[in-house]
């Protein structure tokens, strides 16, 4: 029994000797980095909250290969992006272009923020011009005054 155990133990420690380094994912790390930078700007249509760089969906794998191929052929980043939008529309871009249909999307939040700040400033300025008797008495201050007398 002890011999069997010793043998198994030997096998266990011999295993790392069989292991080898992971094969490089690609021949060209520079190309791979460019591909990943571009595809992380693109939405995967199958799982819509992931980028094409992140997703394991079949289509995302195919599109990464496609982008890799296009870059290898010397195509520019703009050409890759227009290849994608020609097929899937602006929806694939995480940063859609500014045009009439996307104005609300781009400037809506800032407009709301500025509008809110303006309203706040107007209200505060109007209040600061009001006389003291326009406000309800401050309860805490009133109590203190009562305590003093």
């Amino acid at each position: 029994m002890a011999r069997l155990f010793a043998m198994l133990l030997c096998c266990l420690f011999a295993l790392p000797g069989v292991a080898k380094d992971a094969a490089p994912a690609t021949q060209d790390p520079v190309l791979e980095a460019r591909m990943l930078r571009i595809t992380s700007e693109l939405r995967c249509l199958v799982c819509q909250n992931q980028t094409i760089a992140d997703s394991h969906a079949d289509l995302a794998v195919d599109l990464r290969n496609q982008v890799r191929e296009m870059l290898r052929d010397g195509r520019s980043e703009e050409q890759v992006l227009s290849y994608m939008t020609d097929r899937y529309g602006d929806f694939v871009l995480y940063r859609p272009p500014v045009k009439p249909a996307t104005l609300l999307l781009w400037f809506g939040p800032a407009t709301l923020l500025v509008g809110g700040l303006c309203a706040l400033v107007l209200v505060l300025r109007r209040r600061s011009r009001l006389a003291d008797d326009q406000f309800e008495p401050d309860e805490f201050a009133a109590e203190q005054r009562e305590g003093a007398t």
Partner: protein, 176 residues
């Protein structure tokens, strides 16, 4: 003037509710295709049943036709298939299948099992033509006119309602 203080927040709230309600009714899976009213992408693919014969985009010019993207591994295609088989009996339009990322034996077996509504199927094992057509979920169906322009795209299974209310009127219009 005094009442405005109460009406304004209520109005803003009402606008927000309208936006939220609209958002709830939108299907984020249905991404409008930029290919509508654009010429169908060029393709040359071999037939599923005969690897020596090809079908090209140009071969289909001059007639109204439908391209249905399907695969033997696609579950929703099984749901759609009887509808297509029934529709093919009307012989109102040429129906071409785009067999997407499949193998010939699997695809042929599938057609044998469930029936073959297609005038022909073309075989796109790598999914390259699928990408050119902007396919992102099988099944998808395109209606293409005599000039080779894509006029409609259905994402997801074709149902009898879609056929009756959208596809058949469009085909009648394009043939007329």
């Amino acid at each position: 003037m005094k009442s405005l203080r109460f009406i304004a927040p209520l109005a803003i709230f009402a606008i927000l509710v309208v936006f939220l309600f609209r958002g709830l009714n939108l299907d984020p899976r249905e991404v409008p295709s930029p290919l509508i009213n654009k010429p169908a992408p060029a393709f040359t693919l071999t037939r599923l049943d005969d690897a020596t014969r090809t079908i090209r985009r140009e071969d289909m010019l001059g007639k109204v036709w439908m391209l249905n993207v399907w695969a033997s591994w696609c579950v929703a295609c099984r749901q759609e298939h009887p509808v297509l088989v029934e529709f093919a009996r009307t012989k109102s339009v040429a129906l071409i299948g785009l067999n997407y990322k499949d193998t010939r034996p699997d695809a042929s077996g599938w057609l044998k099992q469930f029936g073959n509504p297609y005038d022909a199927s073309i075989f796109d094992s790598e999914g390259k033509v699928g990408i050119d057509f902007g396919v992102y979920g099988v099944p998808e169906t395109f209606v293409i006119d005599k000039q080779g322009v894509i006029r409609m795209k259905q994402i997801g299974p074709v149902t009898p309602e879609v056929l009756a209310t959208r596809i058949q009127p469009l085909i009648k219009e394009l043939n007329g």
